[in-house]
Symmetry: C2
Subunit: 245 residues, 2 copies
Amino acid sequence: MLELYHAEPVANSMKVLLCLKEKDIRFVSHYVDLLRFEQHRPEFVKINPNGQVPVLVDDGAIITESTVINEYLEDEYPEVRLRPENPVERAQMRVWSKFVDEYFCPALSMIGWHTMVRKVAQKLKKDELDEVLSHIPLKEQRDKWATIAGSSFTEEQLADARRKLGVSIERMEKLLEKSHWLAGPTYSLADVNSYSIVAGVPRFFPELMKPRATEWLTEMNERPAVKAALAMPNKVPEALRAFGD
Amino acid sequence: MLELYHAEPVANSMKVLLCLKEKDIRFVSHYVDLLRFEQHRPEFVKINPNGQVPVLVDDGAIITESTVINEYLEDEYPEVRLRPENPVERAQMRVWSKFVDEYFCPALSMIGWHTMVRKVAQKLKKDELDEVLSHIPLKEQRDKWATIAGSSFTEEQLADARRKLGVSIERMEKLLEKSHWLAGPTYSLADVNSYSIVAGVPRFFPELMKPRATEWLTEMNERPAVKAALAMPNKVPEALRAFGD
């Protein structure tokens, strides 16, 4: 039995939901409510000691990290192929996915946390916040919650995040000027892994978008798998829809 | 023809050199002298616009990012297998390699830059430093050089890097208590990708090492491929041997 622990269809949860929908794989969905801190509860931390979604459980075997989960799904369910056959394009798929994980996504995440998740954090009373923080396994995540509950990120940090989003879209644009999809002529995990992040950019900074990136996003939005993934339960009010983890 | 642009056998260059030696693949070696800033020269930036080593060139096709290069070598030269057959162990290999890239290596890199690369940076006169900085393509790398040429990282940043090294070794220890290698019973890219980083820990903070991690490192040091990779040219004086990029 294949099970996915995930939040609403944004950010890293969306990466795996979209991969599952593209491959038309049946799975049992376990919704984890991040804004009610279900990801830090003992029963969830037993599954992922880092207290983060998404987590795939395949007949009891636990797989974490959305990018790795999608490679796992490709290894185990190759009927619909999302890794290019060409090894150079396959490397490009991995280079781009790594860039999204290490640079593009953290920049958008900071903006999303500052703009949206902060509304939740700042409603917490001191003792509630302390209680929340005491259950967060990773120091980096504790620090992030403490930051947005306090004075949040500095203007300088937020400006740098916006700059990084610009760099990311420019890098994307260059790729899309050379080929139809991000890792060559074939739709691949490079595209799957980027969708939820790219979709956040025009929402916050429409001026950063470029022609080919916009076309790519429009084409992505039309994919039946994207529509199916976006139709997954979303308990988060629109005003608070966030870029989780 | 397979060519590798690389620095001395430490850090990310060592990851790929070790993979090539494990697989016994012949390649043309191009040594890039990081401390003489050859990685920022126009002829190299043409090959990798990020101005970073290692870079693999396979009949003209350019592959960057050491972790991705090693997956590429595995895709193209599968005679000696370094990816576990078992898909769950393969996912574990990727989760661990990702952790090394995003957490373990940056922590060691900060210590290495502060302790060793700084000696080079602080010898530069103001106009020499400005000249060096003007050729560095990535803002993050420019900032790093400017930081170590100036007052360097703060005590707080360095203490946090040391803490992260402790967390990394503890996480490694837990894995090695369960299985002989980092991604299960089979030697894999998880081990290959970790060697150069783990080897740096006892050099700086021997007190952080744990029994199984020490055994693993001893066993790694005995591998013929490790010895062969370490025997590659190293133009950097011992006192300055650094954790490049």
